[in-house]
């Protein structure tokens, strides 16, 4: 694995859309008891179900710590590759590399600066030295060369359409990089994602501890088409956020000059953390506290797009079924499956947050 001094754009590389073909994807086994309740057992069951669902579509590699190796290997089917790798928490969307491809089919990766989601909020845990090294280790394993960017960015804060357009939010990237400013961030995104244009949304999902990751709010269905989490309840704090996003998307043209087709997907709930769920977590100094009664940042947009499929969350909520129907309508050529995801949501994210695709190249 070489570290390359130039940028993907300079070398003719770009981030493909998630809906483009993958060689496979990566996940990380949840473990830390200060974020995952009851020794992470319920989360492990949920992650396992996500992994098995994806494995029906494409190869899955599950990273796991030495302490949990036997547990993970025994609980995952033979189809899933289990590899040991150190990490602080299991959000590989945010801590893994962002893969970029060239016209010749070469694959490289971008290793962003990671600061545990701090800015403007404090970091989610006190140390993240293992997370900070994760991307380069994944790239080494994938035999992919590495671009190193000093932009503070987690993978959940960006979506690309693979045709020059990047979607992100002001709430996240401007707060993460206060010294760079909007133009500075935009230039880095263009250089490191091989893009031409950045579509800025405002705020992300209400209650989202990531300070507005776009992958919980809005995603590309295909170039020119986006899906947006939504509520018609004007008294819900999410309403204003989604309406603002809708207005910006309606006014925008993408890098190819297209107007966007926007699909609204009614959010679940609202959902809240129960007292029992909050009590199952071990309190640790420096770790973000999970409080009983707090609003959970639930959204159906936080799905993953494996080859030929969609793996979407369900929450045991009345809105599950209409959301599933909507996804089937949006992705008529893909098999849409759902996995109960409340245990992932309790940790602060959802299905998209725990998977990182490796494009086929």
């Amino acid at each position: 694995m070489a570290t390359i001094d130039s940028t993907p754009k300079q070398d003719g590389f770009h981030m493909p859309g998630e809906f483009e073909p993958h060689a496979g994807c990566w996940m990380l086994w949840p473990e830390r008891p200060d974020n995952w309740r009851m020794s992470a057992k319920p989360a492990q069951a949920a992650f396992s179900e996500v992994a098995e669902a994806i494995a029906r579509f494409e190869p899955v590699t599950m990273g796991v710590s030495k302490a949990q190796y036997v547990e993970a290997r025994q609980n995952l089917s033979a189809a899933i590759r289990v590899v040991e790798i150190p990490y602080d928490d299991s959000w590989i969307r945010d801590t893994g590399p962002t893969f970029v491809v060239s016209g010749e089919g070469l694959v490289r990766g971008v290793d962003w600066e990671f600061k545990a989601w701090s800015g403007p909020e404090p970091p989610h845990y006190a140390s993240w030295d293992r997370d900070a090294l994760l991307a380069r280790k994944v790239l080494d394993l994938e035999r992919a060369d590495r671009y190193e960017s000093d932009l503070v960015l987690e993978g959940g804060s960006i979506h690309a359409d693979g045709e020059g357009t990047v979607l992100t939010t002001e709430e996240c990237l401007l707060n993460r990089n206060p010294d760079l400013g909007r133009e500075g961030v935009e230039e880095k995104l263009i250089q490191y994602l091989g893009a031409e244009q950045v579509l800025w949304l405002g705020e992300g999902v209400h209650g989202d501890g990531t300070s507005g990751h776009v992958d919980n709010l809005c995603c590309f269905v295909r170039p020119g088409v986006v899906a947006l989490t939504w509520t018609d309840d004007r008294s819900d704090p999410q309403s204003q956020r989604s309406m603002d996003a809708y207005e910006r998307l309606s006014a925008a043209r993408d890098a190819r000059g297209r107007k966007l087709e926007i699909h609204r997907v009614r959010q679940p709930g609202p959902l809240y953390r129960t007292k029992e769920e909050a009590q199952g977590v071990v309190e640790v100094e420096g770790t973000k506290r999970r409080q009983a009664g707090e609003r959970l940042p639930a959204s159906y947009i936080n799905f993953y797009i494996p080859n030929g499929g969609i793996v979407a969350p369900s929450f045991g909520d009345p809105h599950d079924e209409p959301a599933l129907a909507k996804l089937r309508e949006l992705f008529p050529d893909r098999k849409v499956v759902t996995v109960p995801a409340r245990e992932i949501l309790l940790g602060g994210g959802c299905i998209h947050c725990i998977v990182q695709q490796r494009p086929r190249g």
Copy 2:
């Protein structure tokens, strides 16, 4: 990675010759200070040189502990893939899987029982739980299914010609498996290596802490042709061992009914551990002691055969040059390179012991 209940022979798999095409190979970064002197720095330099030499011929993956990740990554070139994996010591020939291939080009691996070279001698270190799990972890990473054998065997105790013949020694495998007896061991070798015939040599190299690993004594150059370590000095304890091997090889026919062509390669030295070399090691309860003045099990046979090459040891010894000339004669179609290997030898093995090939399949 599935664990398969049958045997390679039953499924039409066999161990190919090392001289057949590889997809690449594995090594492990030396670290433990109770075996590698001076914080393993000199050994790391030697292992690095071996890795870089092999990388000119085929892809190399270097396993490394979390503690040494940055050290290893910084000291190895970009061509070498560095992956974290736990192990107790860095002899992947002995602790890694033995890969087997099918006629259709599928690749699987055999995971043998590992007991840290104990029997008849004590184990080389007090615990080997990480070594015991290594083979299955490598197989998972290689996306290769796994056969599990209860035969106590390290990979250095066998060589295969890929055409039905396996070479091993009584000194090693009969002592490792006293309850099985010769026929019991032979049946397991035939089943798990997909072989037809076992050629038994007697003892291995004098002073070898592995209790007679064949890979330090004798190897296949190609089917029907073997190389054997040798000395004409009748007063050297190695002399009787090599002569016995020569006689057995001369009397043998391989699985295809061929008489063997036997090439003798004059051993280096004899070489002995210096006082300074012995003092650089940290003494730990339960770890085999390295004593000043002890004979080192030096042999030129302990080379590795990457695609299109030979990576052989040199010892700064007058016999280096004739050995190199002999290897060039034996492998006229390969580029033969040498690497100074005394620091590897001080740890108890040599180049072949620290590399495990993954056949192309």
